[in-house]
């Protein structure tokens, strides 16, 4: 076994030349993952990174772990088979908005409902990069791309809402350029039993530059971003002068002051599904953008239940004899 204590970032860097476009948000995410993995207390050989197809899915080649660059949209299905048959492994899935939400939408929602112990990082850049700039299922209405010269008329998906709707037990959002925050989310994801779904806003500086300016620019990153923290009142703004309150089933932004303080604001509870749902609906530019952990609840993982069922049968019936199995049913002897 590899000495865990000595693992560093360089242990997770492969010898392959990284070939994303210069300036791509993927570089920052790669760094975050290579920083986080050595801190998890998991032997290096236990990590497996499974990806689909797309720019983000080249990720496994750049990590010196076991890796599987699979086919378009199917990474959650392949990772499910791996994790169910090998629960001892730490299986991470890298996917993108096209890979996970378009061609692979079915596998994503089913992995989430089953609660397979996978850590799914969805790099959302709201565009198809590798096929040169077509609109994606998260592109905004009206977007002009090579395949929508007159503007997209497709209503976009909200990845957090999809994950919540599919019954995910862990739903979070990070941003490529908010490195310390992203790392803290990835650490929480790793510790979670069951599927951890992390949407990561990722800038594609070639085909969709500035897609998340409303979150990442200096002007907005404090003013219009909510950093969710479990048990803390939800406030934001340059000087935390704004807060969130419940307004019926929805959330509303309130200005603090005039007797209104943080104590009057909604206290974030990552176990409350309705709150998570309401928070997931907040989208720029009309609302501030929430990042952090929207939902984290305990639910038995799929693979632990599969193993338990098999173990239970072995416990009550014994580890089956092949000879007896072959001879089961009505038999007769010919002499």
């Amino acid at each position: 076994m590899t000495e865990q204590a000595t693992l560093t970032r360089s242990d997770f860097q492969s010898d392959q030349e990284v070939r994303w476009c210069p300036g791509c948000g993927d570089y920052a995410i790669l760094k975050a993952v290579q920083d986080v993995f050595p801190t998890l207390g998991i032997p290096k050989e236990k990590f497996v990174i499974v990806s689909g197809i797309g720019c983000s899915s080249r990720f496994p080649y750049y990590m010196d772990t076991y890796g599987f660059h699979t086919i378009h949209g199917r990474a959650p299905a392949i990772a499910t088979g791996l994790k169910v048959s090998r629960p001892d492994l730490e299986v991470w899935v890298v996917t993108g908005d096209g890979d996970a939400l378009s061609i692979g939408g079915n596998h994503l929602i089913h992995a989430l409902r089953r609660n397979v112990g996978l850590k799914i990082m969805l790099f959302n850049n709201r565009i198809y990069g590798l096929t040169k700039g077509q609109y994606s299922p998260t592109s905004e209405v009206g977007k002009r791309t090579s395949s929508t010269p007159y503007g997209s008329i497709d209503a976009p998906f909200n990845p957090l809402a999809i994950a919540l709707g599919a019954g995910a037990s862990f739903v979070a959002r990070g941003v490529d350029v908010f490195l310390p925050h992203l790392k803290s989310i990835l650490q929480r994801a790793s510790a979670h039993q069951g599927t951890a779904f992390v949407e990561i806003y990722q800038n594609c500086n070639i085909f969709n530059d500035g897609a998340f300016q409303a979150v990442t620019s200096k002007e907005h990153r404090k003013a219009d971003v909510i950093y969710l923290e479990h048990g803390q009142p939800v406030t934001f703004g340059d000087d935390r002068e704004l807060g969130i309150q419940m307004d019926g089933a929805q959330l509303k932004v309130v200005e603090l002051g005039d007797g209104l303080t943080a104590d009057d604001c909604l206290v974030w509870d990552e176990t409350d599904r309705n709150l998570a749902w309401a928070m997931a609906q907040m989208e720029a530019p009309a609302f501030p953008t929430p990042i952090g952990i929207l939902r984290s609840v305990e639910r038995p993982s799929f693979e632990s239940q599969v193993v338990a069922q098999i173990q239970h049968e072995i416990d009550i019936k014994g580890s089956g004899s092949l000879d007896e199995l072959v001879r089961s049913g009505d038999t007769w002897t010919v002499t």
Partner: protein, 625 residues
């Protein structure tokens, strides 16, 4: 014939010995004909008859009661000698309603026995079966031995003391019919009674009801003089050993459990329900104590992909489906091929294209499994030739997959899946040793490091290094690989090299498989060649032809890719080659293109297996012209 008179003396009835008999139970989908046929089969199996079965049921679970599309039938042939098919034409037809009579009477042998449930022959049911005139009155049953029985009324009467509603009582009428047939063919009742009390352990009243119906049917024949002749079919002289009756899908499931045990690998099945493959999933789902994991995926694609993931992790990974599912899995199969991971893909064929006829058999996916993938994508293909052979084909497919690091196709069909035959049980120790040693880093050159695509010089297989092994961290994927390192490569020479290498890897499997065997006349004028489920019908037909004095031989392909090493030599030995296939000539096309040999096709695409006589007629036609 009407209601039979009561006979005073039972003993005066004749006993007649038969060498074989073909019985078809036919009724409405809700009448329990599959269960009735299966019970007759199991009882006959335990008596030691050789047997072969042909279930035939509609895709609809319950088509409207009494209609022609709703008819479900089960044909079983029992014999006192070694037989190969479920029989061309039934000798006995049990018809539970007019629709069952209408759809099956045409198949019956002249002077065959027809047992009718006359209680169902009312105006309404005759109308549903599109009979303008009652067939009992228009002469259409002349030439058959007709027995009209009030099956429904007699069943209700037999059960009148039981605390059951009339509907539940009426549902036992199939066991009344079964009891009658048991009497006619001198079968004991205890096997079925034992089954009933096991099956209805939680509702013993139903076991009791069915037992009463069964006994009532038996006694009805015994007491009344309806049947003047009682038949006996003695045990067959089969090879000594312990036997059980088995259908193809059950045999497949057992075969993969055996392969798992013999390889030391846990078994993982990824599957999505599809007719006629689903029972492989059902069977394996029962075997958890054998460390079998079954995963019912969200779709066909996820099913094959989950299996690939499990294979990467070191499981014996399989996926089961039918033709439409193969279409969906083709990209996944290519991923396994490119990453050189072991995988067995089971295709239980059905009549296509598209949704086709899901419950009907066909062999029309052969070219699909050979070539239905993008790029140059060779995969080994093995086709079991009988229900029991499915067990051994599962072992052989697993062997090829794990020892040669390739995805393998096992191509069965609906006829094998649902049909059954006696299986002489193998001794577990005699099964092939499939031991797998995962690569643990032995002989790795410290300078170069681990090479995930460095190959065995003998088989060209790459090492199977599973996640969790320290120091062997590596990446695989669907992009073209540089041989040796496994790094992504766009090098033109390497792509050509790898394309040929993947083909050569499959071809070398030919060194590990048996050669074709020729059975029949050495100086035959005609070689009849088959593959897969046609073995029984071809064997029967060739035997008949030879008995009639024709010079005929036969051979059978179990391995379709790669072909046995002596294939060309065998085909060139005979002046004429005939290939009966349940498609329009797919295997014949392969052999012609491989060897430029004039293989004649005998094609049938009706959703039904060949009968012996069809093939016999074609043999005679070829040799007489």
């Amino acid at each position: 014939m009407t209601t039979p008179a009561v006979s005073d003396s039972v003993s005066e009835r004749q006993h007649e010995k038969l060498h074989d008999v073909v019985i078809r139970f036919a009724g409405d989908s809700g009448d329990g004909m599959q269960l009735t046929g299966t019970q007759f089969t199991n009882t006959s199996a335990v008596l030691g008859n050789d047997l072969s079965t042909l279930p035939d049921f509609p895709a609809e679970i319950r088509a409207p009661a009494g209609t022609l599309p709703g008819v479900s039938a089960f044909q079983v042939r029992i014999a006192d000698y070694d037989i190969h098919t479920p029989g061309d034409v039934p000798d006995v037809l049990v018809a539970m309603n007019p629709a069952a009579l209408k759809t099956n009477l045409g198949d019956l042998v002249p002077n065959g026995i027809v047992i009718l449930n006359v209680n169902e022959f009312n105006k309404r049911n005759l109308g549903k079966a599109h009979y303008d005139v009652d067939p009992r009155e228009d002469g259409s049953l002349e030439g058959f031995r007709l027995f009209e029985v009030e099956l429904t009324r007699l069943t209700l009467e037999a059960l009148q003391e039981l605390e059951l509603d009339n509907r539940s009582r009426g549902r036992c009428k199939n066991f009344f019919a079964l009891g009658m047939v048991y009497w006619m063919y001198s079968r004991p009742l205890d096997n079925t009674i034992e089954y009933l009390y096991k099956k209805f352990a939680k509702k013993p009243i139903l076991a009791e009801a069915n037992e009463k119906a069964l006994r009532a049917g038996y006694n009805y024949c015994d007491i009344t003089g309806a049947f003047q002749v009682r038949y006996e079919v003695e045990p067959a002289q089969l090879e000594p050993g312990l036997y059980r009756n088995i259908n193809g899908n059950s045999a497949l499931a057992l075969g993969f459990v055996a392969a798992s045990r013999r390889s030391g690998l846990p078994l993982f099945l990824g599957s999505y329900p599809i007719t006629p493959a689903s029972s492989v999933l059902h069977e394996l789902a029962k075997y958890k104590q054998y460390n079998v994991t079954t995963f019912q995926a969200e779709d066909e694609i996820a099913a094959v992909c989950a299996a690939i993931g499990a294979s990467f992790g070191g499981s014996l990974a399989i996926t089961s489906t039918s033709g439409p599912g193969i279409a969906l899995k083709s990209e996944g199969m290519n991923l396994a091929l490119m990453t050189e991971l072991p995988l067995v893909v089971i295709n239980v064929q059905r009549a296509g294209p598209s949704t086709g006829m899901p419950t009907k058999t066909e062999q029309s996916d052969l070219l699909q499994v050979m070539f239905g993938r993008n790029g140059e994508a060779p995969m080994p293909v093995i086709a079991p030739s009988s229900p029991a052979d499915c067990f051994f084909a599962a072992l052989e497919a697993s062997r090829m997959a794990v020892h040669h690091m390739v995805p393998v196709i096992l191509i069965s069909d609906g006829y094998l899946a649902n049909g059954s035959e006696p299986w002489r049980l193998p001794s577990v120790e005699d099964l092939p040793d499939l031991t797998v040693d995962f690569y643990g880093g032995e002989n790795t050159d410290p300078e170069v490091g681990f090479l995930p695509y460095r190959r065995s010089s003998e088989t060209l297989a790459r090492p199977w290094a599973v996640p969790g092994t320290p120091g062997l961290e590596h990446r695989i994927g669907g992009l073209e690989k540089q041989d040796g390192t496994g790094n992504v490569s766009y090098d033109p020479e390497n792509h050509e090299h790898m394309t040929r290498l993947r083909a050569e890897k499959v071809e070398r499997i030919a060194n590990t498989i048996p050669e074709l065997e020729v059975v029949g006349d050495e100086d035959a004028e005609l070689l009849v060649v088959g593959w897969g489920s046609t073995l029984g019908a071809i064997t029967g037909a060739v035997n008949l032809a030879r008995r009639q004095g024709y010079k005929v031989a036969r051979t059978h392909f179990r391995h379709i890719h790669p072909l046995p090493r002596n294939t060309e030599e065998v085909l060139r030995q005979f002046p004429n080659v005939l290939m009966p296939e349940l498609n329009t000539g797919q295997m014949a096309m392969l052999l012609r293109s491989h060897f430029l040999i004039d293989v004649q096709t005998y094609s049938k695409v009706q959703g039904k297996p060949f009968t012996r006589s069809e093939i016999l007629d074609r043999i005679v036609e070829m040799l007489e012209t």
